[in-house]
Symmetry: C2
Subunit: 425 residues, 2 copies
Amino acid sequence: MPNRRFEPGREFSESLDAADELRAFRTRFAIPDPQLIYLDGNSLGRPTRDVANRLRLAAEDEWARDLIRGWNAGWFRAPSRLGESIARLVGAGPGQVLVTDSTSVNLFKLTLAALALRPERTVIVSDALNFPSDLYVLQGCLELLGRRHHLALAPSPNGITVEDDDLLSHVDHRTALVCLSHVAFKSGFLYDAASVTRRAHEAGALALWDLSHSVGVVPIELDRWEVDFAVGCTYKYLNGGPGAPAFLYVRRELQEKAFSPIWGWFGQRNPFAFELEYTPGPGVERFLAGTPPILSLLALETALEVAIEAGIEPIRRKSIALTDYLIDLVDTVLEPVGFTLASPRETKRRGSHITLRHPEGYRISRALATEMGVLGDFREPDNLRLGLSPLYTTFGELWDAVDRIRRCVDEARYLRYPAERLPVT
Amino acid sequence: MPNRRFEPGREFSESLDAADELRAFRTRFAIPDPQLIYLDGNSLGRPTRDVANRLRLAAEDEWARDLIRGWNAGWFRAPSRLGESIARLVGAGPGQVLVTDSTSVNLFKLTLAALALRPERTVIVSDALNFPSDLYVLQGCLELLGRRHHLALAPSPNGITVEDDDLLSHVDHRTALVCLSHVAFKSGFLYDAASVTRRAHEAGALALWDLSHSVGVVPIELDRWEVDFAVGCTYKYLNGGPGAPAFLYVRRELQEKAFSPIWGWFGQRNPFAFELEYTPGPGVERFLAGTPPILSLLALETALEVAIEAGIEPIRRKSIALTDYLIDLVDTVLEPVGFTLASPRETKRRGSHITLRHPEGYRISRALATEMGVLGDFREPDNLRLGLSPLYTTFGELWDAVDRIRRCVDEARYLRYPAERLPVT
């Protein structure tokens, strides 16, 4: 087919790798087993090569030697210092981003802050594609506030996308907050966050975006889009490490009006004056709570340097190329063995992971991980989720992964695995 | 004086070290500069020698090699696994302690859980010695609940202790919760937590203890004392590292009735089923929120092994011997140069730090840290706080520290330092 952009075969994938402007970045990561194709960087990114050494320095040079003085030597400012690094990846001017707590705790804080800014309104709008964890936090907020509000979920009839009309039909004068994941965790659907935020504002509502599945892989312009609040996790495409601390963003204009419900001493105006009455700190720092986990923060800081050095525009270009290529391979190689694509085909509506459905998805995922050296993600009921991390995923890996997936089905290898779900232990 | 228990001089301090049953434990800690006398282990404990290597293994062997599989290989259970280690130090049977979030966030969760269990009551009782950070969290909870409750603080006229009668006169049929620090952060005053808990229960109130300044250095019997809730930090006497994750305790009988206000996915019954409606997990695990910072947790785990190996009874014996010895040195060596003791003299009312007051306390603390190799803590307005960490503090260090403090005043070295407070940067 002369009008095809991609050709079959490993050789062609290698030509794509040879032309990859980011190919040098793979060497920045610790990859002890290059035969293992890791397509789950959207759940937990790989470690950079520098991180083990950074942790050694943190323990031996900073903690052991500086002891309590380490707080003044740099730890105390770590939440805002790392926040400024994240700010460069999410289009935020200074003084609006902090790294602290977990995504859930940050979402809790910002949701309650937002609802307090719209006391006369009673609805939070989200969608059925949102990460359940986010929906739980929202449900908990509503319970805590005495069920005076309710949560309206825009539907996703196809399980892949949400239509603008379906979402916006829920947004009206009762809407306090529109709270969505920028990229949906299962399908990879990418919202037009600028447009949704504008429409939320037109209705007088505030907009809170969870950037967990987009930060570090999709260009984000929080300031330009006039987003009110955002949260996000740092252990996916930002490679911050398991459970790395999350971030939050509060638009400058809202900072003096918005309050964290958790009045922690790191959010107090002057934590070391030990005053008995809480006075919120200036600006976004009032959204800090307790003492942040410094070792995890320093590991993340090392990883952020790599993403910032690569730059979000080249990362997005490669992400699009990787996802385009994988979708082409799904169409040509995997559809014939029973897979269907469960991610948006439209480039601008797609993050950096691709989901495939197959009736035997669970057993296939077990076989791939156990004996075929392909580590992806399984999501109920039958989704194989393949995350493409532009800083280290290669086109050659995608060719090999698809070839192994095809063989897994062709050779019926998955039949050796039970369909009963393994417990998470 | 033949009836004195302690003799003056360095030689005597060395004899105390020679008889110290825990003296071998000092070698388990990384101490790059043995000339520096570190008396701030009550703010940030020293790192164990093993921690740098544990972090390297976490990064290189677990994260880099296991990748997402690390969660099943051990990370997922880390909050409860470490919780069971802490449980051994706080007298808790299994299934009641978790390591997660910060002390502030945990206090927030448990305070709201407690108030929901006493809906008809409107008062939280605490005291004026409580860590301001805890008071801030309590104030924030009351604000969030629409100021239906108020916070009653028992006074401490001497700034050192709280009299039982002063505290208990605030506890009555309106009291929902008695929330106190087991050991006061400034004076080191130690409550009789069993007695206060019993009296709270007699009034129908619940009891929540912050164990931050007692865990790892004072015997704690949460189950036997029938404590309802507890929180605590792990970076002081437990040596978990800067901002190491905190712990929480929920008494077994309350677990199915109590709810966390933060409905995070780690507290959901089955987080990986991705159900859209939150159902709290069984037992204490419902008090988990978001994804925990694993690197910081694993560093803490290594440190906990040392404390558990030493055992809380020998630690308490040495803590008492250290504080007795230091108080004796204060009386004999430092009182003549203007210091007064601002900690309880009664052994059973004392934690493991000793506070001295001196009109020039701030400048003295600067001189000690800058040129005299004694690193303690300064707390406004004039308190020198000296933390004695039985696992690595020696009697010889106490003699030397007191000798240096005396010289600092005798030789007027502090006069070289301005009284203006340095900013925390």
